[in-house]
């Protein structure tokens, strides 16, 4: 443990970009405009699955005020976020794959003209059989041309299948004294960021393209623009202005970004495209609807002997992050519990719906939901308190899991103890009045992915610092603040090392002309990776600045403290110089003062196919108790309070950490109780592509949240810090579901947990049944033989 006293790290405080946001001064992508700017619009498919027989843009082109009409032939190169999922076109050429699939793009004098032009584009479709369910997508396809992707995937409408076995699960189940099996379904839902996606592109006569976009991953957008437009990345500039909420919904390169860039090149005008709210629903990349099966074997002492999980993911029309999403539904079960033998089988299918992708938690919320409800049921079967059952199985700190994940610090035991104690879980569980109940769940999440999206050996994050004779400190980072507070993390770390205040650090971020690389705001990676790069850059700058002062004062550099805008003798604080004098001494001696830092995650331990998903420098841990009140008459579930303990390692800014916990709880409650992404089964149209009909929790729905921070200093994190953006969400949904069981004795094994389902379950219970609502069977599908991986010797 570090015993160091910090000036700012770990303390509550404002976001460095907070006041500008509260004053209305922050410029988001759609707030930008340029002289002569044209407005772009996409024409989107009205069909779920169809061949494009004819496409006539002549009337649109003839409309006064139209500058250009773009169709798919102009951009024939396919793209996709992962090297293995290059299955998207900017605009469809031969076929459309979902209602909302972009078909053409228009640039015009104003939005109305662009819209009118889109309506004048005539598209003749020849419908193809469409697929909207996992079960149907798993069935063989009669004619090859009816497949959603003829040249992608593993046959029929199957995108990808994985099967892995770590250790000997057959032996594990044979040795078990008790075996339990369950089925769960996790409905899809979407990010619903308040800011609609928006892009502005400008192409200059010298051949340089500049793109401003509301993106979480400017570096990956930069790459996709290079591939699709066939322009060297060195001839482009990609800027991500502050993003008005992402949650994973702005992680992919999108058609509107590529189309705006191409239209700017064609028209010689800046082109802006801002999606309507309805279009944001079609851009999607949200939570995969996932059907899950779990089987566990237990020893008499309540420890796990073996676990076997199967996931069936509805991927929608494209690959997106899907190959990673499948693995994430199977990778992290072992990060919380000691599982001596583990088998995972997963399949992702294509359907004629908007593509699914990485929503907050990326594949792990579904799996965590299943495991944590399953364990609640097992606890009852074994006659153990749910907290006690978990306690007997918790992963040990500094261990390696059966699937080769390297666990470093783990504050889960403390999280579990503290959340149980402050919520009174043990006293309340099974003992609250009828209709009231408590539920428990625990979880873990990665602090950044160990591997980049595309294979390379380069750093994942780089930070540069510049200090000059004015005393100005500027930090340059590719990291983009999407509201999570990456600007504040950057400023706080630099300020802490250099003895300044966070608000004094000037920031230049997410601009490929000015800032070094950061891979993006996804996978809860920014504090760990950008934070470490910033810490290294700041420490190097500190060394440069202290060298001349050290000589002048005749004191070793280690004897000097940088704090409160001064450099002084640790043992005689009166003896020292101001920060400004320090900088001037150093600049006189060394010339321009710059430093750099970078971060590359430690190598993964596993070397099996699929071992790239799951490894992380460290894992955050959470434990949650939900208390609910359920109305037997209406089926309504009201969450009375949430207690959430989170192992943060070390908060960089405590206000922001608690904000992330509360935001994660909020989003988890939305997923638990109301959010869903339903389609009309015949037409394939989205039923509710609007903010009114897509139910999300309002100010009146939000219960109080008690956040407990557990600080298990993480050697690999900057100042000991771990992630908080995603982990706290994972535990909310199962905690609520388990609380509903405690309240009513009914099991709702699918999300969202609506009043209607509660009533159905109560009806079944009244008739003497199990009182369960949830999936009843798995679709017929044979997984291939699992790849057998020997577990590490020291694994549980």
């Amino acid at each position: 443990m570090s015993t160091r006293e910090f000036s700012f790290v770990g303390k509550p405080g404002p976001k460095v970009d907070g006041l500008a946001k509260c004053m209305g001064l922050t410029k988001y992508a759609d707030d930008l405009s340029l002289p002569r700017m044209a407005y772009g619009k996409l024409l989107r498919s009205s069909e779920a699955h169809a061949r494009i027989v004819a496409l006539d843009t002549s009337a649109a082109e003839a409309l006064p005020g139209v500058y250009a009409v773009l169709t798919g032939e102009a951009l024939p190169t396919q793209f996709g976020i992962m090297p293995v999922s290059q299955d998207e076109l900017t605009l469809a050429t031969h076929k459309v794959r979902y209602v909302g699939d972009p078909v053409a793009a228009v640039a015009a004098i104003d939005e109305e003209t662009a819209e009118a032009a889109c309506e004048l584009i005539k598209v003749e479709y020849q419908p193809l059989p469409s697929v909207f369910s996992i079960a149907k997508a798993l069935a063989p396809v009669q004619h090859a041309q009816d497949r959603i992707h003829e040249d992608f995937g593993q046959g029929g409408n199957i995108h990808k299948v994985v099967a892995l076995e770590f250790g000997d699960t057959v032996a594990g189940f044979r040795q078990a004294d008790h075996i339990a099996e369950d089925l769960f379904f996790y409905e899809g839902n979407t990010h619903l960021p308040m800011e609609q996606h928006s892009v502005l592109a400008q192409y200059e006569a010298n051949g340089k393209l500049t793109v401003w976009s509301a993106t979480q991953t400017p570096h990956y957008l930069h790459r996709a623009l290079g591939v699709v437009l066939d322009i060297p990345m060195s001839r482009m500039r990609v800027i991500a202005p502050p993003v008005g909420g992402g949650f994973g919904g702005k992680d992919d390169p999108f058609s509107h970004e590529l189309a705006a860039a191409k239209l700017a090149m064609i028209t010689g005008r800046p082109v802006k495209i801002t999606l309507t709210r309805e279009e944001v629903f079609y851009a999607h990349r949200g939570r995969h609807p996932t059907l899950m099966w779990i089987k566990t074997g237990w020893k008499r002492d309540g420890t796990i002997a073996a676990m076997h999980c199967k996931s069936y993911l509805d991927g929608g029309a494209h690959g997106s992050y899907g190959p990673a999403s499948i693995y994430y539904t199977g990778a992290l079960q072992t990060s919380t519990y000691q599982v001596p033998a583990y088998k995972f089988e997963g399949v992702r299918v294509f359907t004629n719906k908007p593509p699914c992708g990485p929503k907050r938690g990326h594949g792990t919320p579904q799996a965590r939901y299943a495991v944590e409800i399953h364990l609640d049921k097992v606890a009852r079967q074994l006659g153990l308190n749910p907290a006690e059952l978990r306690r007997r199985n918790l992963i040990e700190p500094h261990s390696v899991t059966v699937n080769w994940l390297e666990i470093t610090t783990c504050g889960l035991r403390e999280c579990l103890e503290k959340v149980s104690k402050s919520s009174g879980f043990n006293e309340k569980h099974g003992r609250l009045p009828e209709g009231q109940g408590v539920g428990l769940a625990v979880g873990a999440y990665i602090c950044g992915a160990g591997l980049p999206i595309y294979w390379n050996a380069l750093p994942h994050s780089e930070v540069q610092l510049k200090v000059d004779r004015s005393g100005t400190v500027t930090a340059y980072s590719g990291a983009i603040d999407i509201g999570q507070g990456s600007d504040t993390v950057l400023a706080t770390i630099v300020a802490e090392v250099l003895g300044l205040r966070p608000g004094e650090i000037h920031l230049v971020t997410a601009d490929t002309d000015l800032t070094p690389i950061d891979l993006g705001s996804y996978a809860s990676r920014v504090t760990m990776m950008m934070g470490n790069a910033a810490l290294q850059a700041a420490r190097r700058m500190r060394d440069k600045l202290l060298a001349p002062v050290s000589r002048q004062l005749g004191l070793a550099a280690e004897q000097l403290v940088m704090k409160n805008g001064r450099v002084y003798d640790r043992d005689n604080p009166q003896q020292g110089v101001s920060f400004l004098e320090t900088v001037q001494l150093a600049e006189a001696e060394q010339g321009p003062l710059t430093s750099v830092g970078s971060y590359t995650p430690p190598p993964k331990l596993g070397d099996y196919k699929g071992s790239g998903v799951g490894p992380s420098p460290a894992y955050s841990y959470s434990a949650c108790v939900a208390q609910v009140h359920c109305d037997r008459e209406t089926g309504e579930v009201r969450v009375e309070k949430i207690w959430l303990a989170h192992d943060i390692g070390q908060a960089i800014n405590e206000t922001l950490v608690i904000g992330q916990v509360e935001g994660g709880v909020y989003m988890g409650l939305g997923e638990a109780l109301m959010e869903e992404y339903p389609f009309r089964t015949k037409l394939g149209t989205h039923k509710i592509p609007s903010m009114l009909d897509y139910k999300s929790p309002t100010a009146k729905d939000m219960p109080p949240v008690e956040t407990i921070l557990v600080k298990e200093y993480e050697e690999r994190g900057p100042f000991g810090a771990k992630e908080v953006g995603q982990g706290p969400l994972l535990v909310v949904m199962p905690a609520v579901a388990n609380a509903v069981y405690d309240a009513l004795g009914v099991r709702i094994d699918e999300l969202p947990l609506t009043a209607e389902k509660v009533l159905q379950a109560l009806e079944k219970q009244a008739k003497g049944g199990l009182g369960r609502v949830g999936p009843k069977e798995l679709p017929p599908f044979e997984f291939p033989a699992a790849i057998r991986v020997e577990p590490p010797e020291e694994s549980p």
């Binding site: 308040m194 509201g483 608690i658 904000g659 935001g663 903010m691 309002t698 100010a699």
Partner: protein, 165 residues
């Protein structure tokens, strides 16, 4: 396409703006696109999310559903007009200090709605705050820090009033 245009005189944040704009443009569009007041954000342009809230005569109004012609001669307040001579309003400092703005996109609408509440109800209960803000969606914060910020601002405004009296 040549749209019919109309002459407008709008009083925004105490200033008079004379302009000519297409007759069908919403107040939201006129504020953002004609006047460059981009502090007013939009999340749906259908009146569903509250993001584009401005005040008209002190009452919260969805600027995406308002035609500028309807509010001529009335006092329109946008987020740019909440600070006084560059000094942030207590709501703005409270939202900043307590982390009530994360991505910040819903924040202008939240602050304006809260300002209208505090002017009507200087010491609102938590329930009154929740009720007043229930039409403003936020996807980042879980609302709790927003409630706390409104309470803090109410306390500060109450103190400064007391000081004046």
């Amino acid at each position: 396409m040549e749209a019919e245009k109309t002459v407008l005189r709008l009083k925004i944040n105490g200033e008079i703006f004379d302009l000519v704009a297409p007759v069908h443009k919403s107040l939201l569009e006129v504020l953002r696109e004609e006047l460059g007041l981009t502090g007013t954000k939009h999340g749906c342009e259908l009146g569903e999310c509250g993001t584009c809230t401005v005040l008209v005569n002190g009452r919260p109004v969805l600027s995406c559903l308002t035609l500028p012609i309807e509010v001529q001669g009335q006092e329109i307040t946008t987020i740019e007009g909440v600070a006084h001579n560059g000094r942030p309003h207590p709501l703005q400092t409270a939202f900043t200090e307590l982390g009530a703005a994360q991505c910040g996109y819903c924040t202008p609408g939240m602050i304006l709605t809260a300002k209208a509440l505090l002017e009507q109800t200087p010491h609102p209960s938590r329930e009154q705050i929740q009720e007043a803000l229930s039409g403003n969606l936020c996807r980042c914060t879980g609302y709790l820090k927003i409630f706390e910020a409104v309470e803090l601002a109410a306390a500060q405004l109450g103190r400064s009033e007391g000081g004046n009296a």
